[in-house]
């Protein structure tokens, strides 16, 4: 039980984290509507409007300490509302976005969020006609959700029925729906009574104007998505990694797919007001892409994505409430981008640096193997070939001095590189220098040299006999594959060549000698 709990640690943390956020929000909601004049954000907005001329002169100003204290202590109701709402949205969109990314549908969220425009516009016009007031947010969002959902279905089903690729279906449904939206927007502008500023907020986003009611909606949607992601974690993961296998095992893959994408549509809808329809995709994708650089397991990736999404949202809102001139949506996205760049560079699993170090270590190992193998070849060529390949003559190998130039002759390395590898071999205690240009192998060196020479020749024999590789070519082919082949494969080859090897532990080189 304890082991189980420990294995599921990320989940517990996630649940805990979101529980804290949920608690924070619900406290605000239960406390009732806020007092808008009490808040740092709305205050700065009011002062912005009154002091418009002063602002234009200095568009960018550092906040004074009073304000920093005010924001950081979360003293104001609205600050708390905006912070908790956006952070929760960041966490949940990071988690959901991981599935979207792995489903290879990253850009679907962009098509969906653009396709909300006609829905918003239709709802706006309808509301104008019915009640004369077009900015009832919930109805607008419902309208947007409907067209967003239609676009999502179009994106998924167009490739299936028409044979065009999925990227084309994304772009097609985006332009079609957005085109309708643009036409309807120009209709709205011609309506005599309409004031389309409510719609503008949804296109470009305005986190600072979020109210308790808006955050209630964000809260509800986020809880739904979070619960769905936790309950269907196994199913969604299976769908992402191998949808064919899911289908074969009796999972309703298509329905699950539509369900997952519906969650994406919902997140896109509630994200409209916070970051705007042009940037909501970044909130879904960037944390997930960044998380992939840190972990391999699905659970960890979702956890890290949620963490990055939440942190970006938090920092974004913090910045934009300290510097009210900065657009919150853009800051959130840029913070996420910063996380992405850091992850790309320093990520422990697939980051550039860690991959570079791994590659360098592997290169060093391979170079050392090749150096020692060539040393063995030289030793063997200096003597009568059978003399040193038998087990009991190992001691003799350790006493024979080797001329470094002869080894260099067998490798296609530059002088400088050879000297570097030689130096490393000395410091790693594989060889011992006798004088300038001659060295002997140490005990470890002999063992490693024999091991690699043997493995190399077994491979050569195998390729000549079973893969029809020409003996003059085989050396280079083996150099490419021997380092990546697993030890079990080598053992199998040993079994094949038992007769050839017999008492000789290391077979003779099966090809003419190669020198520079």
């Amino acid at each position: 039980m304890a082991a189980f709990a420990l294995r599921r640690l990320p989940f517990w943390l996630l649940i805990l984290l979101s529980a804290v956020a949920v608690f924070g929000v619900s406290k605000q909601v239960l406390a009732g509507e806020g007092h808008p004049h009490d808040s740092a954000i709305s205050q700065t907005q009011a002062s912005e409007q009154s002091g418009a001329h002063a602002r234009k002169a200095t568009s960018f100003a550092w906040p004074d300490w009073e304000k920093v204290k005010r924001v950081i202590s979360f003293r104001d109701h609205n600050t708390r509302v905006v912070f908790s709402g956006l952070t929760l949205l960041g966490i949940v969109s990071g988690i959901t976005g991981t599935f979207l990314l792995l489903r290879k549908r990253s850009l679907l969220s962009d098509s969906v969020s653009h396709a909300t425009l006609p829905g918003l516009a239709i709802a706006f016009i309808a509301l104008e006609l019915i009640s004369g007031k077009g900015d009832s947010l919930n109805w607008l969002l419902i309208g947007g959700a409907i067209t967003g959902f239609l676009a999502m279905l179009a994106v998924i089903y167009l490739p299936k029925i028409s044979g065009i690729k999925s990227d084309a279906s994304l772009a097609l449904s985006l332009t079609f729906f957005y085109g309708i939206g643009v036409v309807l927007l120009s209709v709205i502008q011609m309506l005599p009574t309409a004031n389309a500023s409510g719609l503008e907020y949804l296109i470009y986003g305005n986190a600072a104007t979020l109210t308790s009611t808006d955050v209630q909606l964000i809260l509800a949607i986020c809880i739904v998505c979070l619960v769905a992601c936790i309950l269907f974690f196994k199913e969604f993961s299976l769908l992402c990694f191998d949808s064919g296998y899911a289908k074969a095992n009796g999972f309703p893959a298509n329905k699950l797919d539509i369900f997952l994408m519906t969650l994406i549509v919902l997140i896109s809808i509630v994200g409209l007001q916070a970051v705007g329809l042009l940037l909501i995709m970044a909130l879904l994708i960037t944390p997930a892409v960044s998380a992939r650089f840190w972990a391999k397991r699905m659970g960890r990736v979702t956890f890290i994505a949620g963490l990055i999404g939440g942190t970006s949202a938090f920092i974004g809102v913090l910045m934009s409430s300290l510097f009210p001139r900065l657009p919150a949506g853009a800051i959130v996205v840029l913070t996420a981008t910063l996380f992405f760049i850091l992850s790309l560079t320093f990520g422990s699993y697939r980051g550039l640096l860690s991959r570079w170090f791994l590659k360098r270590r592997a290169m060093k190992r391979i170079e050392m193997n090749q150096f020692l193998r060539s040393t063995f070849d030289v030793l063997e060529g200096d003597q009568n070939d059978c003399m040193f390949i038998e087990n009991e003559r190992i001691g003799a190998l350790m006493k024979t001095p080797i001329v470094a130039d002869k080894v260099w002759n067998r490798r296609s390395w530059s002088r400088a590189k050879f000297a570097k590898v030689l130096g490393r071999a000395v410091s790693e205690n594989w060889i011992r220098l006798i004088d300038d240009g001659t060295f002997i192998l140490t005990e470890d060196g002999v063992a490693r040299a024999r091991h690699h020479a043997r493995q190399h020749r077994l491979w050569e024999l195998y390729l000549i006999k079973y893969a029809d590789v020409a003996p003059s070519q085989v050396h280079h082919d083996v150099e490419r594959i021997e380092e990546v082949a697993a030890p079990e494969v080598v053992r199998e080859i040993e079994d094949i060549f038992q007769n050839e090897i017999k008492s000789r532990v290391i077979p003779v080189e099966p090809h003419p000698q190669i020198t520079q």
Binding site: K56, S59, F60, L101, K104, R105, S106, L107, D110, L129, I161, S162, G163, I164, K165, D167, A168, L170, A171, L172, L174, T175, F176, Y178, G179, I180, G181, V182, V183, L184, L185, S186, V187, M190, L191, P192, Y204, L278, L279, M281, A282, I285, T286, A288, V289, R292, F293, R325, L326, P327, G329, A330, I331, V333, L334, T337, F340, L344, R350, L352
Partner: protein, 320 residues
């Protein structure tokens, strides 16, 4: 609605832009990069702002250069993230273009606050205004001239490099083996797309550019299997889209909404929007009625197959 010379010019300009965009669009569609057009339309924003900050004027050339650099950068960064970071191509495009766009929004607020640059203007250039600025005074619209030049250059490029483009889009592996450089050709497509898009959307609006980069090509894709014919079809489809789109936008929404409202206040609506809607409609028509790949043809063929008397797949009762 009365058809004036302005309408004619709008259709001509729209058709020129549409054709110019549809040529790189065909190759984007075939190399599965259709969303690239959408990406660069957004990611040029910081380029435009920075160009503006450097020159301190709304000089068109500087803006175009800045936008083009940003667009090309988008392509390079996307490829770079895709290859170095092993990120899926769509996701890497998404990360790159949203970041650049957010940077642009931030720059607008922080740096150019005192001057009016509206993201609206950048994203929704208006075809009608840019034509109306010239035609009534007897001038040849600058937009039309630019679009024609772009179209001519794109046609020329597609003609000269037809062989290379064909092999690189259909079989990059073979292209590489034969000594072509598919990566280089791909960058060429990206740069052409970027320049075309920047030249076009500054005057006609981003939505039309994105639509024309994909819809005519997709329509043509449903009608033929040959690349040369696909290019011709996409040009024809682009022209038809421009014409019907304009007719649509000056008639349909106006009559619908005027009927609902019982008044005459709605007139001609956004033309770029109308054209992109019609582009989608043409695609749907092709999807329904294409002779080979259309849904109707498929249904018909299935039916015919079922009715054939000597259908080998039909189960016949075993004779004992």
């Amino acid at each position: 609605m009365e058809w004036t010379s302005i309408d004619t010019w709008i259709v001509i300009t729209g058709a020129m832009v549409a054709m110019a965009c549809s040529i790189p669009g065909v190759f984007l569609l075939l190399s599965k990069q259709s969303m690239f057009g959408h990406g660069i339309v957004h990611s040029v924003l910081p380029g435009i702002i920075i160009a503006f900050l450097i020159t301190h004027s709304r000089d068109l050339t500087a803006v175009l250069i800045g936008a083009t650099i940003a667009a090309v950068l988008t392509g390079i960064l996307t490829q770079w993230v895709h290859r170095l970071g092993q990120v899926e191509e769509g996701a890497s495009l998404g990360v790159v273009f949203t970041s650049l766009f957010a940077l642009g929004l931030l720059l607008i607020r922080v740096a150019v606050d005192t001057v009016h640059i509206d993201p609206d203007c950048v994203l929704f250039g208006l075809l009608e205004t840019s034509v109306v600025d010239a035609v009534p005074f007897g001038e040849f619209p600058r937009v039309t001239r630019d679009a024609s030049i772009t179209l001519a250059i794109n046609l020329l490029l597609a003609g000269v490099f037809f062989k290379e483009l064909r092999i690189a889009t259909f079989d990059p592996g073979l292209a590489k083996a034969l000594g072509f450089r598919p990566a280089l050709i791909n960058y060429g497509i990206m740069i052409t797309t970027a320049v075309t898009a920047v030249l076009a959307f500054e005057s006609v609006g981003s939505i039309l550019v994105i639509a024309m980069m994909i819809a005519p090509a997709a329509t043509a894709f449903l009608l033929t299997n040959r690349l040369g014919i696909m290019l011709v079809f996409s040009l024809v489809s682009a022209c038809l889209t421009a014409l019907t789109g304009h007719v649509f936008s000056i008639t349909v929404p106006a009559s619908v909404f005027n009927a609902i409202l019982g008044s005459e206040m709605i007139q001609s609506t956004n033309i770029a929007g109308g054209m992109s809607v019609m582009a989608g409609v043409w695609f749907l028509l092709a999807l329904a009625f294409s002779p080979q790949k259309g849904l109707f043809a498929k249904w018909w063929n299935l039916r015919k197959l079922g009715k054939e008397p000597d259908n080998p797949f039909e189960q016949t009762p075993a004779a004992h």
